[in-house]
């Protein structure tokens, strides 16, 4: 049996490998590049429009735009990390090199979290860069007070999005189906349930988790949503990954 220290070391190595796979694999690169390109495009447009209306460069304009893109992209990161090995049959090599499936499972979730946090850091960096470019180019003053208040919700939204994406993907174990599921969750299920009159729907809306963590939601709704969208899919995924024949 492995000691806790060795298991942690092995888990860290697998986590680093999973992050590297996302960065060096073409399909993952394409998704990341698309999200970045879309983010930059929307950010530029939003910053220009907002500055023309107010006569000042508001840091929250590019930050909100990039948040939108990263918020949409972070569940996809979770999906890619959790399912791409199964899709390409690389899972055989992965489990030959590290056969402890629980350790690999946890390492993948941690890798997803690390990438989500990195995405938030990138959003903040690019937003500041954008705003400063605007200040230099247009000679307008910079406003950043509201933007600072958006950092925590941005971080929470990205992390929760990545975790729910990872959870759904672990239960589904198919990249195309998991992508459809997280897109449906983001653009269909969540808006419909959030828009419904207050009642049972808030207990199922995935955004209840983020709402509670940013201080605007209720704990009961957040706990219920967490069970439905995170714990149950993760439990199902854990069971499936441990039971499945690798071939």
């Amino acid at each position: 049996m492995l000691t806790a220290q060795t298991a942690a070391q092995r888990g860290f190595v697998v986590c680093v490998t999973e992050i590297r796979k996302v960065v060096v694999t073409r399909s993952s690169q394409a998704i990341l590049m698309s999200v970045v390109a879309l983010g930059l495009l929307i950010s530029t447009a939003m910053t220009v429009v907002a500055s023309r209306e107010t006569g000042q460069i508001d840091l929250s304009a590019p930050m909100l735009s990039l948040t939108l893109c990263v918020g949409f992209g972070s569940p996809l990161i979770g999906v890619l990390i959790m399912t791409s090995d199964w899709q390409s049959r690389e899972v055989i090599t992965l489990f030959l090199l590290e056969p402890r499936r629980g350790l690999v499972f946890v390492a993948k979730v941690v890798a997803t979290l690390m990438l989500a946090v990195s995405a938030v850091a990138a959003v903040i960096f690019f937003s500041i860069a954008f705003a400063l470019c605007g200040v230099v180019a247009a000679g307008m003053p910079l406003v950043y007070v509201t933007a600072l208040a958006e950092v925590v919700p941005l971080l929470v939204a990205c992390v929760v999005g990545a975790i729910t994406g990872s959870a759904l993907a672990s239960a589904i174990l198919s990249t195309p189906l998991a992508v459809i599921a997280v897109i449906a969750q983001t653009v269909l299920v969540d808006p419909v349930l959030s828009a419904a009159p207050t009642g049972w729907s808030s207990y199922l809306a995935p955004s209840s988790i983020s709402d509670y963590l940013t201080g605007t939601g209720r704990p009961g709704s957040a706990a219920a949503a967490c069970i439905v969208w995170v714990l149950v899919p993760f439990a199902l995924g854990w069971w499936r990954i441990h039971r499945r024949e690798i071939q």
Binding site: M1, V24, S27
Partner: protein, 307 residues
Amino acid sequence: MTGIRVRGLSKGYGNAPALQNVSFDCPVGQITGLVGPNGSGKTSILRLLSALSPSHLGTATFDGRRYLDLETPGLEVGMLLDASAHHPGRSVEETVRIAGITIGLGRRRIREVLETMGLSAVGRRRFGTLSLGMKQRVGLAIAVLGHPRYLLLDEPVNGLDIEAIRWLREFLISFCRHDGGTVLISSHLLRELESYADRVVILSRGRVVVEESMVALRSMGRCEVVADDATRLQTVLTQRSINWSPSAGGARTAVDADSRMVAELAMEHGVLVTELVPGGVGLLERLYMSVASSEFPATTGWERSEC
């Protein structure tokens, strides 16, 4: 050091049993060949050894430890189970590098292995664009990456060119004889396997039907001889009541006697022996055909369907 030890492995897929109480040993410093018809359970054994199949009965250990209990399995056991088990959109170099990082190896060793396997020139090519042979080389590169003590190879010769087959043969022999490694290799190329395997395990319908060393098989009282004066040798054999029959279209004489006895007899009667093959050419193939039966036999000819 007990090497690889398989005891009482049983495994089924649905209601169909794939393996039934399979037990055998792969001693340290030896190459063990795993042969059998399609569906006889060769790959299932390798998958159970590597914990890719989760539920089964029996045990499979490396020096007494399960694969799951090895600290860094990739450093101790090198495996090639499926040549195409890599992401098709990743470069060859990156594919090997990711495997290296997973088992804690640096760039130097990765470059070294790519060079040894003749993969440096295709390092930037996408894995999905490679031929089967080149994919096998990538798989072999990953198998030997961590200087393992054990090698488990599932039909590694498939798609390899002559040069690579020769390299693999020499590598396996050196790995066992000089480095004290242990190899379990499955193959359908019996003559090739016969040329370097020390032991053989023959499977038929999920059961072990033969587990024997090649030395013991070769000394089972049969050999093939090519003599300068075949007629004289055959006459001597007949006089000594030793059964013989012409083989290879009369070019050889198959003799039901130990090779040493035949050599001594030939020398005693002044017959020049130019070739003497203990067990005879195609020993493994003959043995295989006599003990293994395929679950999915091919027909002997094309059958014309009636209209």
